[in-house]
Structure formats: structure tokens, C-alpha cells
Symmetry: C2
Subunit: 388 residues, 2 copies
């Protein structure tokens, strides 16, 4: 398989966009990504798109062809990929395979979700499609409830506290305050989180990522194309994906996500790196407990020590391993299909030294971790500044 790199990226502003639909959000991110890559339309050979439920939120399926249509890219092959909140990560991986295979030289891969055109009750039902609907949501479970069960067990097994969970949200809002694309730019305190409205205890409102409209796009290119053209590449050192049961009740453990462990193991093997080599990571913090489990399951901290490490500031912007410099899902926002691609734009900016106030010093290796549902799908991608 050939070497592949990210050569450009773009984001729409994340937030509540009453005046914009799916197509406008896609175009905002896509045009920016194409300009950043310095390519023209005829260089692009395929379109990949990730969205969880454009059908549920906007009655629109067939979304990749719609992107190609709206961006004037017909008759390119256009492929929509869906894996709940990991739709972006899985779309990236399919686009990566198509370039690594030798089939394409340049592809665009986008992610989008337009979530604010439905009521909160409708959104909760639609997002429930990420679970095993017949076994979980049909019986009254919601995603805050599902992650709350994991949080309860983590607290029971390892002594993790609500304040430690809150520290992840406080850090991510601090980072989000420095991100011009973020939905929330307000800084918050542990006390704010502790006093916020209960959603599914121990998770409170400020432990939860929001409902967001947004889109993200990146362009991937082969080494051959990059050699012949002026590019600013960030190399994909590893692309890994794994699945797990959709239902929590079928899992061996409530305090780890096995798909993350398997994908991380595969990714580090592929990249010939270890967790210690990573300088900056975007992880899937749909809830604060999800970030704590992620930094453990990815191998950055021992199982059970993620909460303490977070509270100790070991993942802040100035630490050895800054986590969610974009603000994460919590503060940057979580348009579910876009999230996996937004993570890649952040890592790209960090490794290119273009992250502004959020810039991490000497970032050579970055990691993006995207989860679908409560862990039914996970992708881990590792990026390298150098073509090693």
C-alpha cells in the first residue's frame, strides 16, 4: 500500500446555524479544504462523506452524491460512510484505503451533521440509532444514561470522582476559548460543572457534549502526487478500526472500550510508535467519562488513573500530552458525522504549526480517536509531520 498524507483541511463554524442547511455547511468546509490544499477541482478523483443520520435530522440520504452535486464534482464516485459518531473516522479510513491502494491520487473526505432542525426529543431518538436500538433505546436507555453507567462503574472500581470528570470539561472549555471555530468559547470551573443540571447522574449538563451543526473536510493525496506538486503534507502513519458489541450488557467490562484498545494496538503497531511518542491527541469526549476511558484505553495512562491524571493537569495545553486542543466534542461541539474529520483538521494544524493560540510546541506525532455509539465502532489514526 502507498503512503498517504493529509494535504488540506477546512471547517465550518460549529454551532447552531438556523440559516444554513447540510449543503451550505458542507460547501463552507469543503471549499476551505480545497483552497488550503492548493488543488483544483480536476485534481480530485473521489468524494467520501461521513454523516450519521442526515436521514433522521434532515430527511436527506444519498449524501455523498449530494456533496459531489453541490460542489460541482459530478461525475466523480461519491461514497457515504456511516458508523454513528465515528462516521467521520470511518470515512477517512475508506478514503485513505482508496488512495493507499493506488486507485486514486487525490480524494476529498468530508463529514457533516445538521442537528438543530429537530426537537431535543427527536434528536435523542435519532442518536439512539447508534445503540442496539431493540435492546437499549427502545427500553428507555439514552446515551447520557449509557455513559453514566460506565462512569458509575469507573468511580466504583477506581475511585474516580465527579470532580476529576469535571476537570476534562474545564480543560476542554479552556482550549475551546482559543479556537475560532468552537461552539463554546466560555471558560468554566469545576464548580460550574458540579452545579450544572443533572442529566444522568453522575453526568451533569457540563459533562455532556452539545447538539451541533457543522461540517469538516480534508483532502488526502498519494506520495506520488505530493512529490509532483507543492503541498504541505501531514502523513498518515497509521489507520486502524475495530468494532465491539453495540449493547453494553454484552461487554466483559464497563470501564473500558475494547474497540479502542484493539484499534490503538493496531495503529501503534502499524506506525511503529508507542503512546509515549504522541505529542498531541484528539480523543472522543462525547461525555467527560469517555475522555477518561479513552486516555486509558489508548495507553496514555494506566487503567483507572485517567481521572487523576486529568485533574492533575497532565493533559492540558502545556502538558507533555495535550488532549483535545480543539476544545474536543465538549467545547468545540459535536456535529456527529463531522467530528472524526474535525479531529484531523486540528491534528493537521498542530503538526503544521498553524494552531495559533492553541499551538503545542514541537508536535511531530498526533493521534485522532473517534468512537461510534458507546464503542461499537472505533477508529484510531496516527499522523506524522515527517514522511518516515
Amino acid at each position: 500500500m502507498r503512503k498517504v498524507a493529509v494535504i488540506g483541511g477546512g471547517l465550518s463554524k460549529f454551532g447552531e446555524h438556523w440559516d444554513k442547511g447540510l449543503k451550505e455547511l458542507i460547501a463552507e468546509a469543503g471549499v476551505q479544504a480545497i483552497q488550503d490544499a492548493g488543488v483544483v477541482g480536476k485534481d480530485i478523483q473521489a468524494v467520501y462523506g461521513g454523516t450519521m443520520s442526515a436521514g433522521g435530522f434532515s430527511k436527506q440520504e444519498h449524501i455523498a452524491a449530494l456533496i459531489a452535486d453541490h460542489m460541482g464534482l459530478n461525475p466523480l464516485p461519491a461514497v457515504r460512510v456511516e458508523a454513528a459518531c465515528a462516521s467521520g473516522g470511518v470515512a477517512l479510513r475508506q478514503a485513505y484505503i482508496s488512495v493507499a491502494s493506488g486507485l486514486h491520487d487525490v480524494v476529498i473526505v468530508g463529514g457533516v451533521e445538521k442537528m438543530t432542525d429537530v426537537t431535543i426529543e427527536e434528536a435523542t431518538t435519532i442518536l439512539g440509532g447508534a445503540s442496539d436500538y431493540e435492546w437499549e433505546v427502545f427500553h428507555g436507555a439514552t446515551f447520557p444514561g449509557i455513559y453514566a453507567m460506565m462512569a458509575k462503574r469507573h468511580m466504583y472500581d477506581f475511585g474516580t470522582t465527579e470532580e476529576q470528570l469535571a476537570a476534562a470539561a474545564v480543560k476542554n472549555h479552556e482550549n475551546g476559548s482559543k479556537n475560532p471555530y468552537a461552539q463554546f468559547k466560555n471558560k468554566i470551573t469545576i464548580d460550574d460543572v458540579m452545579k450544572s443540571a443533572p442529566v444522568a447522574l453522575p453526568l451533569k449538563l457540563l459533562d455532556c457534549s452539545p447538539i451541533t451543526d457543522g461540517a469538516a473536510a480534508v483532502l488526502l493525496a498519494s506520495e506520488d502526487f505530493i512529490k509532483k506538486n507543492k503541498c504541505n503534507p501531514v502523513w498518515i502513519a497509521a489507520s486502524a478500526q475495530a468494532s465491539d458489541t453495540l449493547s453494553l450488557h454484552d461487554r466483559k467490562s464497563l470501564t473500558e472500550i475494547n474497540s479502542t484498545k484493539v484499534a490503538a494496538r493496531d495503529a501503534f503497531t502499524q506506525a511503529r510508535l508507542t503512546p509515549k511518542d504522541i505529542n498531541v491527541a484528539e480523543v472522543h469526549d462525547c461525555f467527560t467519562i469517555a475522555e477518561i476511558m479513552a486516555i486509558e484505553d489508548l495507553g496514555f495512562f494506566k487503567k483507572g488513573e485517567g481521572g487523576k491524571a486529568t485533574a492533575n493537569g497532565e493533559t492540558t495545553l502545556n502538558s507533555k500530552l495535550p488532549v483535545n486542543t480543539s476544545g474536543g466534542l465538549k467545547a468545540c461541539g459535536h456535529p456527529v458525522g463531522a467530528t472524526g474529520i474535525k479531529q484531523v483538521t486540528e491534528i493537521m494544524w498542530q503538526l503544521r504549526n498553524q494552531a495559533g493560540e492553541r499551538q503545542v510546541k514541537n508536535a511531530n506525532y498526533g493521534l485522532a480517536h473517534n468512537v461510534g455509539g458507546s464503542g461499537g465502532t472505533c477508529t484510531v489514526h496516527i499522523f506524522s509531520r515527517d514522511n518516515k
Copy 2:
């Protein structure tokens, strides 16, 4: 890229399955495909799944991970692909690329749709997601209406008659009567079609494919795997895909589907074959006019002559080019996400000489043509008995 072959396939019975959900349909097809291929679970390295709107029909997204979960295939990477009614064809192509790239040696690719748990009105809205919803269905268009406009123009430009359209349905019911998996096994006459209830004139009830529950699955393997194991392969000689505008009003022509023309051109080039070489074809007859346009756009007949050729019996089981030996979408049924994979099982059975009463003599090359919406997406796959 490496050579890839289909090494096994399976179908659920197509029809109205009040007693079966998504998971049961998938398992029925998947287990049959795995047994047919003669592989075991540990040989399989990835799961691909096509479904148009499990979210709309069953509130269930995240469907590839659900398939992996239900079939005991965790933690394999599981990828759901969606391209409206071409979801199966696009999923097949992504699975093909993943094996051709060298990443995987054996993958399973399934398609499924469980359509009968909603009302007809709900189904019409959900299927409308295949159009450009804001520009077409929102304003009252339905898919029968969209294809009726194409039929009207085809009749106006080329003198195609309603009886010629009806001939496609009569032939497909004749073929379906010989297919144990088909939803409809009744033979019909031109008169039956002409007298059936108007849906969107000139299309009548018997010009339209039905609402169907069903699943299909095939296994793909690399040449390396096939050399080392006992297999009965049918080789993928070409895999092509193209897009077009979703809205009819943006097209240059109402009487051709450009994505079919582009995908066919690319596929024949890749396979180094011409339309004359094809011995059996499954084409996307969501409506009778769609079959007429398909056999023209694929290059089997000149533009405007598809209706006459069909009425002349030039695509029946005993003709030079049998089309839709499975019964097509019309008689075998059209569980939208499964259709593109069902077409492949039929071509596989034909090229392996396992098609029973429907067997075409001396079938060496077969073609499968899968369309999303009114042509926003098209895939064309060419299969070869020999590894040429």
C-alpha cells in the same frame, strides 16, 4: 491493485417478513454466504454493509457494527456504506478496493433493508431521501413521479410505448417465477400491466418494483487466498462508480442516466471488454423505464431502441443477452440496500452454472448495474468466470 473474486453468496427470502427484523435477515443471508464460500469466521478480516435507511425504517443506524456484533465477528472493522438504492453496489466496491489494496484477504459484504415496518406514506418519504429532498420530494415529487417524467420524455423522443415498458415487467415476472428467493412468482401479461392501477402515468402498479424486506451477502477474496484454499471463484473484472446531479431539473437529458454511461465506460475499459461480450446482466429496474434506459446507457442497445428490443424478446432468458434473470427488482423484489448485492449473487450463480431453471447457457461474463435515486449514483461491476 490485486485480483479479487467473489467466493460465496447468500440471500434471505425476499418478501414481507413480519416475523423478522434487520438482524435476522442479515444472519440468514450472511450464514449462507459464509457456508457457500467454505470459509470460517477467523478467515474474515472486515465487514462491509450497505443499507439505505435502516434509520428511517427501523430507527437503527450504526448498522455494519450491528452486523459484526450479531454475527459474532467483533472486533473486525465494520463499515456501513449508503448511496440510496445503490448502497449495495457501493458497499461491494469499497469491499473490493479493500481487498485489491492488499489490506484484507477475505471480507464479507452484505446489504439489507427491512421496509415493511412503516406505512406506505412513511416509506415514500424515507425513500424520498434518495432525491435532492429540498428541491424534489419537499415539493411533492415522489420516485414514481420522477421516473414517470423520464418515461414520458422517452416516449415523446423515441416513440417508446407503454406496451414496450410493460414487456420488461412481463419478462421479469417470468424469470422471477423460476427464482426460489423471489417476492413474486406469478407470471403476468402485457394486458395485466396495462390494466393495473395508475401510480404516476405512464407508470402503473405493475411497472413499479415493490416494497421488500430482504438481505444479501457475498464474500470477496484475494487471488493469494484463492490459490491457497479450495474456492469456486467468480472474478471481478471491473468495478466502476459515478455520480450525477440528484435533481432531474439539473440534468442535460431526461432520457439517459449519465452516471450509468460514465460507470459503464469505465468498467468496460477496465475489463477490456465491450457490451457484446456480456452473456448475462442484472440491471436496476426500479421501474420498467429504468430497465429500458439502463440497457441503452450500458451500450447493449442504441439510445431509443431499448423498448422495442425488450418487446421483441431480445433480453429474455433464451436470448443473446438475458437481462434480470433473477426477476430483477420488479419480481425478485427491491429491499433497497440489498439489491446491489443480490444482483451479484445472481451473476455468481449464473457464471458458476448454479442458477437452476434460470440458467443461461455458456455464461462467461456477467454485469451488475445498480442505481441510487434517479441516477445520482451508479455502480457497474463486470464479472468473469475465468481469471483472465
